[in-house]
């Protein structure tokens, strides 16, 4: 594997990890609210969270390029804040990945929170647990499978991200040239051998991760007889 390919692998791991952590921080309160609220905003907000599933990634990337560009509202804001422009930077990729992978983290969490129901919360309340205490000692442990699923889906979906990064990345080694871009470049340059190695490695790695996650999931281990 060339040095450039290794850099791309490392960058991809960094991007996917950071995106997953930030998404968990954003989506935990968001999903909790969606799971518990009776507000009339539940429908619209839930729909917005799901929207990134609808747009083709390259189209989403195109609009991010325009929105975060010097003439776009987000671009004007980041410039006014002294942050500069986001396209073609690692920070820009993180922002784009958070939007792109949002439903993959928010929805498993929301389902896990909904599945808990009212009873454990009421029981905790009768034992005089405060809302924060209840959340950390009752809700989080009960929602553990949901967190595992959300983390895996968020991470995997970001590793597989391509169209969005193609549009706003600029293919800069060490900053925005992630694994999927490196594979695509090899294919387009007709260097199929390098592409096969990278793609094969990516598949093997992803398979192992998914296997491990299934293994550690409650009920994921095959039952042992005897």
């Amino acid at each position: 594997m060339s040095e450039g390919d290794l850099t791309a692998v490392w960058l991809t791991v960094k991007l996917a990890s950071l995106t997953t952590v930030l998404l968990l921080l954003i989506c935990t309160p968001l999903a909790w609210w969606l799971a518990r609220t009776r507000s009339r905003w539940k429908g619209p907000i839930g729909a917005i969270v799901t929207l990134p599933l609808v747009l083709p990634p390259a189209v989403l990337g195109f609009y991010l390029l325009v929105l975060m560009g010097p003439e776009g509202p987000v671009g004007r804001l980041t410039q006014a804040l002294g942050l500069g422009l986001l396209p073609f930077t690692f920070a820009g990729l993180v922002v784009a990945s958070i939007i792109y992978s949002l439903p993959f983290v928010a929805q498993p969490l929301q389902q896990a929170f909904e599945a808990i129901g009212d009873r454990p919360l009421e029981a905790a309340a009768t034992l005089r647990a405060g809302p924060w205490d209840t959340f950390f000692t009752v809700v989080l442990p009960l929602a553990r499978p949901g967190f595992i699923t959300a983390s895996v889906l968020g991470f995997a979906h970001t590793v597989g991200e391509f169209g969005v990064i193609l549009m706003i990345g600029g293919n800069i080694p060490g900053q925005t040239q992630v694994l999927s871009m490196a594979i695509y470049n090899h294919v387009e340059a007709m260097d199929y051998a390098s592409a096969h190695w990278l793609a094969g490695g990516m598949l093997a790695f992803s398979f192992l991760v998914l296997l491990l996650v299934n293994h550690f999931k409650p009920g994921g281990r095959p039952a042992r007889h005897g």
């Binding site: 195109f62 390029l65 325009v66 975060m68 560009g69 010097p70 003439e71 422009l85 396209p87 073609f88 193609l166 549009m167 600029g170 293919n171 800069i172 695509y184 470049n185 294919v187 387009e188 340059a189 007709m190």
Partner: protein, 247 residues
């Protein structure tokens, strides 16, 4: 009633029986001129041409794997030659249908002087170009910068696009202040019509030859052969030149 509805379809079918059809893979940078050329070609010959636009690298992979294209208009001269050497194009049918012109372009009027001095004076954060490994215009941009002795100085400012259409998008959206694009994207009749730019003198880079070739699926198809002949004719050449290509 039904007969009235079906009549136009029947006419179409009758037309197809006499005229041929050809499926053409066209390099994305040549989309606009090719549409105009084909409209004229269809009117004059009665043949029908279906155009698919994409990148030369992807077309290569698709042709190698049995895509139903009969004529290939590439963005370079290497890929058609490679297909011919590998037996996936009809030998002896290659020719250069257009020579691309490179432009250093900015969406801002007055940003680029007509000698490209802005490359030395700076004042920009991002310089967009097509990936030199994938796109002939990107390779020509690097050759130009190397001839000007600027490649290493400016490399930190590079943003590399997947193809020349995307390089244009990076510059047109203002995310890169300037970039190397094709004259065909920003000009008409050899002049730049939007923003500002410097038409790179041809001696600064190897000519960007775009070659066409007949694919094995089109060998016995009169429409495919006729289209290639039409592409070499004066009418097509006039259209190609008007879009900013040399010949």
């Amino acid at each position: 009633m039904l007969r009235h509805l079906l009549a136009p379809f029947a006419l179409c079918l009758a037309g197809f029986a006499y005229a041929g059809e050809v499926v053409v893979a066209v390099a994305a940078n040549f989309a606009a001129p090719m549409k105009r050329i084909v409209a004229e070609f269809e009117r004059e010959t009665g043949h029908q041409a279906t155009l698919a636009f994409g990148s030369t690298g992807k077309f290569y992979a698709q042709i190698k794997n049995g895509a139903p294209f009969q004529v290939f208009l590439a963005a370079d001269d290497i890929t058609p030659a490679r297909l011919e050497a590998e037996g996936d194009a009809v030998a002896g049918t290659r020719f250069t249908y257009a020579i691309g012109r490179l432009v250093l372009w900015s969406a801002r009027p007055g940003f680029i002087d007509d000698r490209g001095e802005v490359l030395r004076t700076g004042g920009f954060r991002r310089l967009a170009l097509a990936n030199p490994r994938l796109a002939p215009y990107g390779a020509a941009a690097i050759e130009t910068l190397t001839a000007l002795n600027l490649t290493e100085t400016l490399r930190p400012k590079f943003v590399t696009a997947d193809n020349i259409a995307q390089a244009h998008q990076f510059v047109a959206s203002g995310n890169a202040e300037l970039g190397f694009v094709a004259l065909a994207q920003v000009g008409q009749d050899g002049r730049i019509t939007a923003g500002s730019g410097w038409i790179v003198p041809p001696h600064l880079h190897a000519p960007i030859r775009q070659d066409a070739v007949l694919l094995p699926g089109g060998r016995d198809n009169p429409a495919a052969v006729a289209l290639l002949a039409y592409l070499r004719g004066d009418k097509a050449k006039a259209v190609i030149r008007s879009f900013g290509y040399d010949l």
